[in-house]
Amino acid sequence: METFVFFYFATIIVVTAGLVVALKSPIYSALALLVMFFHVAGLFVTLHAEFLAIIQILVYAGAILVLYLFVVMLLNLKREEHFHSQFIVGLFLGCVLFAEAVLLVLKGETTLGQNIAASAAPIELTRGNTESIGELLYSTYLFPFEVASLILLVAMVGAVILTKKGILEVKS
């Protein structure tokens, strides 16, 4: 049953990821990406990461994708731009990278995760997923958490400065 669910999610994820790259219109690409985000969230649920599944839908589907759609509609593109002239080279490089990854997984499968699993602390199932992540986030990863807030602040300031008219233009 779990294998079936995994293959359902995996198939939809791969197909919609391909559609994101293959479709002509940016709006259709963004909508295919939306379907993919939902299925990645489903995959997270099967992996017992419920909090991340919700966050995935809220942040990716709710915020990031809406931002993309806003920009697509704001720019009002007339011409359709499709594939680059280096289509063959790009496809070839992608295939090479994927073959390399598969080779690494197949060759390294005998040692994949075995030596790490012994030293890792077992997951605490007495508490919820959200509670455990929150405790980890505010104890072990407190400093990266603060840095993440700084990154968001910098991104906010950068976005405002880049889009505001009259700041970057040279006065002449």
């Binding site: 963004a30 594939f83 990154i151």
Partner: protein
């Protein structure tokens, strides 16, 4: 837990490769940013799969940070796209080759 972790790794490899191909072959900058999102999602799948299989929650915390970086990247990237569009009325990547020659 009868799905082996290597299945997740292969799935994530496929999605990452599709994202990489998308960055290389598309000319629309918006699609290129969407492909970067694909690659970030592929790493997220990997993180969560290993976190679940090793019984260690740190992987999920790292997905949280990757999400933060993705949000920041999208905000700045889309701002750059809007600035580029104001500058030259186009978001075709071939039109911006000032640094090339």
């Amino acid at each position: 837990m009868d799905v082996p972790v290597s299945y997740y790794v292969v799935l994530s490899g496929i999605v990452f490769s599709i994202g990489l191909v998308g960055v290389l072959i598309r000319r629309n900058i918006i699609i290129i940013l969407l492909s970067v999102e694909l690659m970030l999602n592929a790493t997220n799948i990997n993180f969560v799969a290993f976190s679940s299989y090793l019984g260690n929650l740190s992987g999920q915390v790292f997905v949280f940070f990757a999400l933060t970086v993705a949000a920041a990247e999208v905000a700045v990237g889309l701002a750059i796209i809007i600035a580029l569009y104001r500058h030259s009325e186009s978001i075709n990547i071939d039109d911006f080759r000032l640094l090339k020659w």
